[in-house]
Amino acid sequence: MTKLRRAFGAPLSALIVFLAGIWILGLIAAPQIIMIEQSFWTMQRPEGAAELSVKIDALYNRLDVLALDHAAAPDEAARAAVDAERDAVQTEITALEVEESTPVKTWTLSNYGQMGKAHLAIFAKTILASLAVTAIAFVVCYPIAFAIAKLEPPRRAAMIMLALVIPYAINELLRVFAWQMILNYGGPLNAALGLVGIGPVPFLESGTGVFVAMVYAYILFMVFPLYNVLETLDTNQIEAARDLGAGTIQIHRRVVLPHARPGIAVGCIMTFMLSAGSYAVPYIMTRGTADPWFTQLVYNRFFQATNWNVGAAYALSLLVVCTGFIFLMMGLLKVRLRDIAK
């Protein structure tokens, strides 16, 4: 802090700390903390609500008795006494009823238990499918990235990457929508299959469409990080390995892949996170006909079932899986956060 003040002076330092503080505490930390907190409680009927309701019933009986007493009262004084007691009972009933019906905040883990078998299966499906998307993206993209970075002359490589920026930078929704058209009942793929006597195949209704569109939508998030690290690999290293008698597989296993670790980590983390957290792809590709993606369940908890506590628990489960995946990749590939976020 003293370093900060010496460099920028007191007023500017205060402004820097203020702005960074609002961002870090107000925008990043506080919402996450509130979401975590919210996932661990629920509004419940107060403890002893059953006893309370028995007590209230008894008081109502007493009220009936008092009404009879009121009618049978011999004189004004007795009637006033009965009235006084009736008012007191009435007040007590009102107070107890408020207590009975006001839910209290109860700490619980039950929001996480709400998932049930069906939702748990969707959660697992979402994670497994996202892992599969990540694996496919890596297998498809590694040769591409290697070919562009190491086999093409630098200027041609730059042109190729510039061309790839176009499908990469175009809005995710458009990439998804293109595949909705292709895989639709009347789409070109079913038309082609029809020529050879197959189909029509319900790609969208079976959930296949989600997977296909997801691979297409996120595959370039694997190409760019891989290309960026492979571009920095000294081609002489590959030549040297070949001169020393290494075969193609050995060169990749011992020279290229170890060099590409940070790029592999970034590519896998981005692809997995985008897939597992994708709302657009399942939303557009299923039209509600196939099983939902987990993100759609999260959305529904909040905006249709309006159970925000359960919704928070669902959202947090997704966040934990994604964070876990980041640590897993960092551990497996031995890279640090600074290598990832560039």
Partner: protein, 268 residues
């Protein structure tokens, strides 16, 4: 020998990959000019510009565009100062504190977008603020500021610290030194960061969808139209997005090329 053969296979593979990347976009563009609705390329009923006219007359798209621009403007105004403050703070902290702070500041980039959106809405609900443009702005700022911070950090690392010191030795106050030395040095990055922030905000779907409540932006509106794919109007929007993307990519390439030429010119 085997190198030639495998090189050829790789080239072929790359060609297939390019067809895979561009053909779907081509199909989408083509359907935007087809007189048939819903969008299709298998039933061709002749070339038309009719859908451009329908898009022009579409009020919800215009209001979505207006909301998108409002949000993007606010996000730029918030995220750039916050990102810059974060980067400046990082440079003046001890290694341990900086490491921790850095982790927190890049964490929004490693968090699924829907979580950023929904946690913002949950937080503001406690203050009786419902989801809308305001929460969408804050949710987007959370991660756009991370991009800005990384860009400013990269630029600041290349700053010549002696310049600022010289200014101070010559009697400039810290504020003057910052305004006259550091800020001009950062100017190109401020421009780039503003462009990136605009694109990130304008194109965002996931975070916005969860944060915006009953309102809509251009992109969330496109999303809900696409679900049922009823009219080629969305294809026409797609055409505009593609044109804009290509223009940006080409301009960016030209600027880079110029920069490269300038650098070469100096060294030669």
């Amino acid at each position: 020998m085997s190198g030639q053969g495998s090189g050829l296979i790789l080239r072929l593979y790359m060609a297939v990959f390019f067809v895979y990347m561009f053909l779907p976009l081509g199909i989408m563009v083509a359907a935007g000019f087809n007189a048939y609705s819903p969008p299709s390329v298998t039933v061709w009923q002749g070339f038309t510009l009719q859908w451009f006219g329908e898009l022009w007359a579409d009020q919800r798209m215009w209001s979505g565009l207006r909301n998108s621009l409002i949000i993007a403007g606010a996000v730029i105004a918030l995220a750039l100062p916050m990102g810059l403050a974060g980067a400046l703070l990082l440079g003046r902290l001890g290694a341990r504190a900086a490491g921790l702070l850095y982790t927190v500041m890049v964490s929004p980039l490693l968090t699924p977008g829907i979580i950023l959106g929904i946690s913002t809405v949950i937080f503001w609900r406690n203050f009786e603020v419902a989801g809308g443009l305001f929460t969408a702005i804050l949710a987007q700022t959370t991660f756009v500021a991370s991009y800005a911070m990384l860009m400013f950090m990269a630029r600041l690392q290349r700053q010549d610290a002696t310049l600022e010191e010289a200014a101070r030795d010559l009697g400039a106050t810290p504020l003057q030194a910052f305004r006259r030395i550091t800020l001009p040095f950062l100017r190109p990055t401020i421009v780039t960061a503003a462009v990136i922030a605009f694109l990130q905000s304008f194109e965002n779907y996931n975070t916005t969808m969860f944060a915006i409540g009953g309102q809509h932006t251009l992109v969330t509106e496109i999303g809900s139209r696409m679900r049922f794919g009823l009219s080629p109007v969305v294809n026409v929007i797609g055409i505009f997005f593609i044109i804009a993307t290509i223009t940006c990519a080409v301009v960016w390439a030209i600027l880079k090329e110029r920069e490269r030429c300038a650098a070469n010119g100096v060294s030669a």
